[in-house]
């Protein structure tokens, strides 16, 4: 199975008509997100805060490697003492299967540092992103969904899965390699006993790209 995936990736990367002229693309992005975490339990707990995120990627032809890191502090309203620290990191192998479709896959780690201890999630995710021009040459709309192919958490009850998505747009700034990005993200991570963490965020950021 692993060999089959690697063969598919290699074919997509190098067997395409444009592979001979494959160009290297670099991207670096930063975001600030207004985030909210809802722990679905009895009763539900909601935490709000600001999360800073950054991403970097390199792509050769259709294949690329992307990494991301986010960190922020979320706390219940008027209860800063019970604040939780979010630390999130991911590394994805990305393949542009079609001009409007990018497939991604890779590990995604997330940790919640709470007064009671640190809750660590480890997933292997599969993602699919579609995009389309809204204003030719200026604005594109993006929609991405993901699902965990495997999920693990350092809680005795265990994890049952995770899924989520991100929708928004990017706008090219004229005569500049910069893009303005506005995204809405929703992610749900479920425990085997039915509890779940729902993390949402609205992020505004800048992306620099060179190709």
């Amino acid at each position: 199975m692993r060999r089959l995936v690697l063969a598919l990736v290699a074919w997509l990367a190098f067997a395409s008509p444009g592979a001979a002229q494959a160009r290297t693309r670099l991207t670096v992005g930063v975001d600030a997100q207004s985030a909210r975490l809802v722990r679905e339990q009895a009763p539900d707990i909601a935490l709000n805060g600001i999360v800073a995120a950054m991403q970097a990627g390199v792509a050769i032809g259709r294949v690329g490697l992307e990494i991301g890191y986010a960190q922020g502090r979320l706390s219940p309203d008027a209860d800063a003492a019970n604040a939780e620290e979010l630390v999130d990191g991911e590394a994805m192998l990305a393949v542009r299967a079609l001009p409007w479709l990018v497939l991604r896959g890779g590990p995604h780690l997330r940790a919640w540092v709470t007064p009671a201890g640190t809750q660590r999630w480890m997933r292997v995710e599969g993602r699919a992103e579609v995009s389309g021009e809204v204003i030719p040459g200026r604005v594109r709309a993006h929609a991405e969904v993901w699902s965990a192919l495997s999920t693990d958490v350092n809680l005795g009850v265990g994890a049952s899965g995770a899924r989520g998505g991100r929708v928004g747009l990017t706008m090219a700034i004229a005569n500049s390699p910069l893009l303005l990005r506005l995204m809405y993200t929703a992610d749900r991570a479920e425990l085997a006993d039915g509890r779940a963490d729902v993390l949402e965020g609205i992020g505004l950021g800048l992306v620099w790209r060179r190709q």
Binding site: S34, R36, V38, E40, D44, G132, E133, V134, I135, P136, V139, A141, H142, A143, V145, R163, G164, G165, R166, V167, G168, L169, M171, L182, M183, Y184, A186, D187, R188, E190, A196, V198, E200, I202
Partner: protein, 348 residues
């Protein structure tokens, strides 16, 4: 005493008008001069008048002047002052530069001639039969000879008779040289055509009394100028293509906006999602409307715009080269001037 003067004058004239026998036969004035020499002034006056009569065959200019001079002298001897002044006046008008030979005519004749000259306002205009103006420094010399001091206005008239260039306006005592560069006020040589040079004599009260007109034929000799190159419209490429139209961007945006709203459900959230996500949804929708409107306008083709710009730059360069070449050719233009016979006319 007067008789003595007549005798002396006749003797002088006898010497002055003596001609070889062969020449006497060819001289149309011979008969009149013979009567003059024989002191037959009545007969001489009659003969001179018949030679100068309007219905008589026209004498050559030089003979006509001699006839008028001798008629004036004859009338002086006949003590007919008014007739003498009239004859001298006609002579002065015909040739303002004319002066009687003081060896040929007695002082009383020359004195009366001077009196007549002072009373006549006439000017002779003398210029080369042909001249050429090539460079900016070249001039056509026009010399004015006045019978007596009086105001003269010298002007060039265009082919329609309208004043084109005032060359002189003011007194002329004896002679005056006026220079004309053959150009208009903008420094350009005048066009080919029939022009007129007019000198107007004015009396003491400023009233025009006489004109001398000389036809001028101007020929502009120039190399043909180059035609301006045509704009390269045939080679130009379309700079825009038809609007892409279609509602695809709008549909994409609507789909994305709907996805923003529906994403919490897709993620399986059982709680109320962030209401501020509608801001993102609205932004995506607004961008979609903007995209829809943008696609309804012609789409620029940058490479064609650049191609056309280069083409127009080349055209402008070629245009400038032709302008410079034409300027050089025009600068090398010459003006050939030919002067006709002067016509003298009294102003009624």
């Amino acid at each position: 005493m007067r008789r003595l003067v007549h005798v002396v004058a006749a003797a002088l004239l006898l010497v002055a008008v003596a001609r070889p026998a062969a020449g006497q036969q060819a001289d149309p004035l011979a008969g009149a001069l013979a009567a003059y020499r024989e002191l037959d002034f009545d007969g001489a006056a009659s003969r001179f008048r018949s030679l100068l009569a309007p219905d008589a065959p026209r004498l050559p200019d030089a003979d006509r002047r001699r006839a008028l001079m001798y008629l004036g002298a004859t009338e002086t001897f006949r003590e007919r002052r008014a007739e003498a002044l009239a004859a001298f006046g006609l002579l002065i008008v015909a040739d303002p530069r004319y002066r009687p030979d003081e060896l040929e005519f007695p002082p009383e004749v020359t004195a009366l001639f001077q009196e007549a000259r002072l009373g006549v306002r006439a000017v002779a205009v003398v210029l080369p039969d042909s001249a050429e103006i090539a460079g900016p420094a070249d001039r056509l010399p026009v010399r004015l000879y006045a019978s007596s001091l009086h105001d003269v206005r010298l002007v060039v008239l265009d082919p329609d008779g309208a004043p084109l260039r005032l060359l002189h306006e003011g007194p002329v005592g004896d002679s005056l040289e006026v220079l004309w560069n053959g150009r208009d006020t903008g420094g350009r040589l005048h066009a080919t055509g029939a022009y007129l040079l007019r000198a107007t004599s004015r009396n003491a009260t400023g009233v025009s009394v006489r004109t001398v007109e000389i036809p001028l034929t101007l020929v502009r000799i120039t190399r043909d100028t180059l035609a301006a190159p045509s704009p390269p419209t045939a080679q130009m490429r379309p700079e825009t293509r038809a609007p892409q139209g279609g509602a695809r961007p709008l549909l994409v945006a609507i789909g994305a906006a709907a996805a923003v709203v529906a994403l919490p459900s897709v993620a399986g959230s059982g709680v109320d999602a962030m209401p501020t996500r509608f801001v993102v949804s609205a932004a995506v929708g607004a961008a979609g409307i903007g995209g829809f409107l943008a696609r309804s306008r012609p789409v620029p083709i940058p490479e064609n715009v650049a191609f056309n710009r280069r083409l127009m730059q080349q055209h402008e360069q070629e245009l400038e080269r032709v302008r410079e070449e034409n300027a050089q050719r025009l600068a090398a233009t010459r003006l050939r001037i030919r002067a006709g016979a002067p016509r003298v006319a009294d102003v009624p």
